[in-house]
Structure formats: C-alpha cells, structure tokens
Amino acid sequence: MTIVPAGIHLMAHLSAQAVFKTYRLGRVDVPVLRGASIDVDKGEWVAILGASGSGKSTLLHILGGLDRPDRADRQVRAENGSPRRGRVVFEGRVLSDLSARDLDRYRCESVGFVFQFYHLLPELTVLENVTIGAMVRRGIAGYHGAAPQARARASDLLDAFGLSPRLRHRPAELSGGERQRVAIARALMNDPPVLLADEPTGNLDRKTGASILDALESHRKATGRTMVIVTHDPDVARRASRVVRLDDGRVVNA
C-alpha cells in the first residue's frame, strides 16, 4: 500500500525531505546532512554540486537506500517544522517504511549506482561484473534459466559502451575510463528507473571524464532515465538539466 506523507512533493519521482545524517567519529558526532531536501522528477538529470564534505555523497546513498536518515532532533523539528525522521520517497513509497527485504529489492531493481572508484569485483570478468546485478535479482534458481538473456543484455550494454572486445578481461586489465563504463553498464543491467552516480568522473582525466559524461548523457536521452549525479566540479554539473547546491549539509538552492 502506498502512503504519501503530508508535505511530500507528489509529482517527484524521487524525493528527499528534511534529511538529517550524523556520523560518529570516535566520541565526536559529525553532522553531515542538516535537513537536506530535494525533489527529482521522472526523466530529470539533476546534479548535486557541493564542496568536499558538504554531504552530497551521503545524500546520494540515502536516496539509493544504501543508508538511512537520522531522526531529526526536537529542536530542529521545532525550528523548521521538520518531520520526526527525514523521508525519502520513491514513486510514492517511503523508503524508511520498507522492510530490509524490500529495501534490498529497491536497490536491486529501482536504482543503479555508479561510484567514483568504480568498485568492480576484481576476480570477475567484465561480463560477470555486469551480470552480477541480474544474479542478485533472480537468485540461484531464477538466474539459471535466465542466464543467456542476462548475458545477452550485458553484452549489448557493454557493446553500447564500446567494450565488446573486453568481455573476458578482468578489471585490472582495463583503463580507468573502461572500468567506469563497465560500472555504468553494471548499474544499468537491471534497467532501473533511476541512476545514481557519485563523482563518476572524479577519478578520471578531463578527456576521459568527458567521454563518460557523453556516454551517460546519450544514454539518458535514449532511455529517459532519471539521473542524479554528485559532483564537486561545476563543469560537470553544468551538463545536468538542473543543479542543486549543497552546503554544510543543507540544500541552498533546488
């Protein structure tokens, strides 16, 4: 059943409302997000721009269901009318209300992550790294029957990113740009409606970074997929359809 809390932007495809997040480093609490809110419409490409430590990656992780927002403290709630706990809503479903199993399914089917450092599994080939999402989604019994289709889709995605000759290669045998394209293919394997990219060009030279952005952009145009990209680089952010600035854990313009 879908329950949309009051105050949630009903048209948003993916929405975060008054999200707080504090990490504890030793004995010190370090607030990272202080009531950040963002709405992303379907098919929109939003860039979250902010300095290092502004909380943009944390916000992305929370949007992707990898992390959960904190409860807002009483004083903050009194000051700005924040809900008791920050909410993330995807297609009308509040992520914090989902069971662990449903949240796993959300990460598997609804979002795809691209990380700055690619995070490919070094023991697997390029093709296996891409199909791993399908394996997770279908389980042992389900994947057995669907393996040929999964491999065909992975091959198509890799072909689209110019990696056909590299299917049997290990990540260590690829360049940084190639690795990131494999990571993008992996994120798209289960055809998620939302792609979340955390500094996808941060570890690449400018030319390679540009080619990655080109690939992402052309893919978004072709599929109309919602895309949220986190970056500290204004040039990268400029390519998005909308830029959201994050400063000291708060969205300063959305």
Partner: protein, 519 residues
Amino acid sequence: MYQVLLTRRYLTTKVMPLLAAGAVMLCTAMILLVWSIMGGFLEMLLTSGRTMVGDVSITWPTVGFGYYDELVSELGKEPDITGAAPIIEAFGMLRLPDGRVIGVQIKGIDGATYAKATGYADALWWKPLTTPLPRDKEHKDRRLIDPDFFRKAYADGMSLRYQDPQTGAVRPAAVLGLEVSGFYDRLPSGVYVPYNVGERLENGTIRWQDGFMVGKSVTLNVLPLDRKGRAIQTVSRSFPVANEFKTGLYDIDKQTVLVDLGALQQMLKMDKAERVEMSGQDIYGGAAGGEGGGSAPPVIGIAPARVTTVLVRAKAGVPPERIRRVCLDAYTRFESAHHAQVPGVPGPGVQGAIRMSTWEEDQATFIAAVQKETVMVLGILIFISIVATFLILAIFWAMIREKTKDIGVLRAVGASRLGVASLWLSYGLIIGALGSALGLALASGIVWNINPIHDWMGRALGITVWDPKVYYFTVIPNRVDPLKALLVGCGGVAFSVLGALIPAVRAAYMDPVQSLRFE
C-alpha cells in the same frame, strides 16, 4: 547464483582460501590418521587379549569343581556353543634352562578342546611357514626351514605331548608364552631369533646353548591345596617344552605357561582320587586324635577330578548376554544332577555359587581402560577440531576484511544480508569439503602405506617410531574404517562452516556505505 560464482573465483584466485583448505586438510588428515592407528592398535590389543579365553568362563577358583566332563557335555548340546574346554588356572614357579626361577600363571589344558574354545591353534608360534612374514625380507625366520620339525612341534603343541627323540618316550609337555624365557631377540620384522644362552654348571664352567626352547626342559613348582583351600606340599615336575605361543599381548605372553591338564591335575591333587575316612587324622600327617595306626584308612568313595574353569566359545554373532544365559541354563541342569557336590547356581544372595562371567566382564578393567583412552583421544581430537575452527575463523575474518569493498558492492546492487552471509557460509562449506576430501585422501594414503613408509623412514632416516619391542605388534595398524572417515570428513566440513559462521554474520551486518569507503 553470485555466491556460486564468487566462491569459485575466490577459490581459484586467492591464496587464503587455499590456506584455509590446507588447514582443514591437515586437521582432518591428522585426526583420521591418529584415530585409525590408535583405534587399530586398541582393536589389536583387544583381539590379542581374547586369544586365550572363551566368550564365557564358568569358574570356581583354586579349589575347582568336579564332574566337569558332564558340564562340558551339557554345554556341547547347546546350538549356540561351538566349544567348551575344562582348564585349571593356578600360579607356580618355573625354573628355566639357564637356572632362573620365575613366577608364572599356569593353565592346565586339553589341547583339542582348548583349541575349540579359544584361538589357541592360531597362537602356537612354532609351526611350518611356507611364506615369510611380510617384513622378513632376509628370511631370518627359522620356521621357513625344516617344515617336518615344525609340523611335529605344532602337533606336539596341540596335544601337549612330547616324544623324546632319544628314548622315544612320550611325556606330558608344556607350552610357554613366547616371552616367558626371554631367550629370543625380536627383530623389527617380527621374527624371533634365539640368543645363545649360557648356563653356569656346578663345576663353575658355562655351557652355551641355543636359546630355542622347543625340546628343552623346564621345571614347574606348584603348591596344591586341599578342598578347604589349605596348602598341602610343594610339587615339582619337569616338562619338556613342546612349543611356544604368542597372543600379541605382552603380559600374557610373558607370564603364561600351558601344561597338559592331566599332569597339572596330578600335581595340584585335583585328579580323580579315592575318598577315605580320616577319622581324626588330617592329610597334613600328624595325629589329631592319637598316634596313627598302621592300617590304611577305609575308602568311602571316589572324588572326581576337578578343574577350576570351563571356557565356552559361542557361535559367531551370538551376543554375550545370550550365551551367558545359555550357560546358566546348562549349569543349572548340571548342578541339579550334582546338588551339593558342585558350587551352586548363581543368583541374588546365593553364597557359594559358581562364578559365571562373559569375556567382557572378565576384561572389564582392561576394556574400561581402552574406553577411557578412546574417550581421551576423541577429546583431544575434538579440541584439535576446535583449534581448526578458530583457524578457519581467523582466516575467514582476514578474508572478509580483504573483501569488505566487495561486500559493499554486493549490498549496493541489492544483495541481502542473508545472501552475503550465505556467500561466506557456502565458501566455508566448499573449503571444508575440499580440505576434508584432501585430508581423507592424504590420511588414507598414509594409513594404507604406513608400514612401507615406516620401513623407509627406518632405512633412510634411522627413525623407528613404532618399535615392535615396545609395542609387541609387528605391523602398524593400516586399516581405515569408512565410518570413521565419513565422520571425520563430515566433522571437517561442519567445523569449517562453524568457523565461517561468525565472519559470515559480520559480513552480513556490515554497513554497506562503510564497506564501500573501506580502504
């Protein structure tokens, strides 16, 4: 599915899982090796200890009981019984050819019936051999030569009779435990080679002779008792040695002397005799009630010959309790025919009842020691398994730390906590199965070839771990019990999974964000 793929890849591309599998392999191999050899050793001990006794013994110690032939006949009618042998068990002193006098346990036996009730026929050592012992590469066993001599020695041993080659006279003979004389050097091959034995003569000179005991004479001294258990007078008798026996159990082989039953009955005054009216005199001489008269006391009956024990051998597969019950029934019939002349039937509160016990009951102390030893070994093995579990745990802990980022990636693409835990558990299962299979193969290979390996170690490295002079078995047990192998294999797998459990739970509960940021 990703669990299968990653397990396969981690196994083939990482050193750590191979180390873990190696640890499991060594542990399972060690456990199976120790268990097989120790278990085999204990089994051999038990088998050897049983060689000279039946399944049930019916005993009235020292004084013995009469009409035993009727009891043997009664027992012989039972379909569950294959043999029953009357014997006398007593203690005495034995004078050896070199002049030493040693304390021994004496058994008076009838060779034919004793062989039916025990493993006596196989225990006789001096018999013709057509093929040498497996480790007697140099053919030093004298049983390989002169088969006629050893054929006769074997027949003499079975009958406990010895025909003097010079006079042709046939005399009751003795059969000694192979370690009784101490005249043999036991070679690592299991062959017994006699020493040259010197005997100091009265004129002070030393006469050297071959220590081979067959044909030599020994003197047995026993102290007979009357029916009331009072000592009469020491009796000495010389016996030619017809043969020697070996059970494999040192205590028995070192202390036991077998002699002809009839001869021992005579020595112990347990043979058939006339019963006389003593009327105030006792058998110790001396007048109890006046000066002894010159006339012989009147004969008032015949006292039957006596034995102390009847050994019973059951048919294969008959449980000890059942054969004990059969014996009890037979003895009850026997006792009713000779009421008040033989010990009573065992029962609750019955005084003066015959003692009837199974082999297991007789050897309870020994069996208990064996069982305790087995429990101790199993305890040590379980401790080793726990150590192996911690080893697996440590290796898996390190592996999971190394693969922290992979865990974050898997969680990011939607893997559940259970899925991540099952990845590491299945990994532990595979490592356990692989390590156990290799361990079982290694241990089986070693156990099956333990004797050639031991021989090689002795030749090439001068290391003799299993010294037959210490263990009194010529060969190291080399059988692998499939059930033990299965248990050890399953244990290896189970302990591997157990070792992987805590790291797997830790992996499952890792924060995916922290995992992805892990450096």
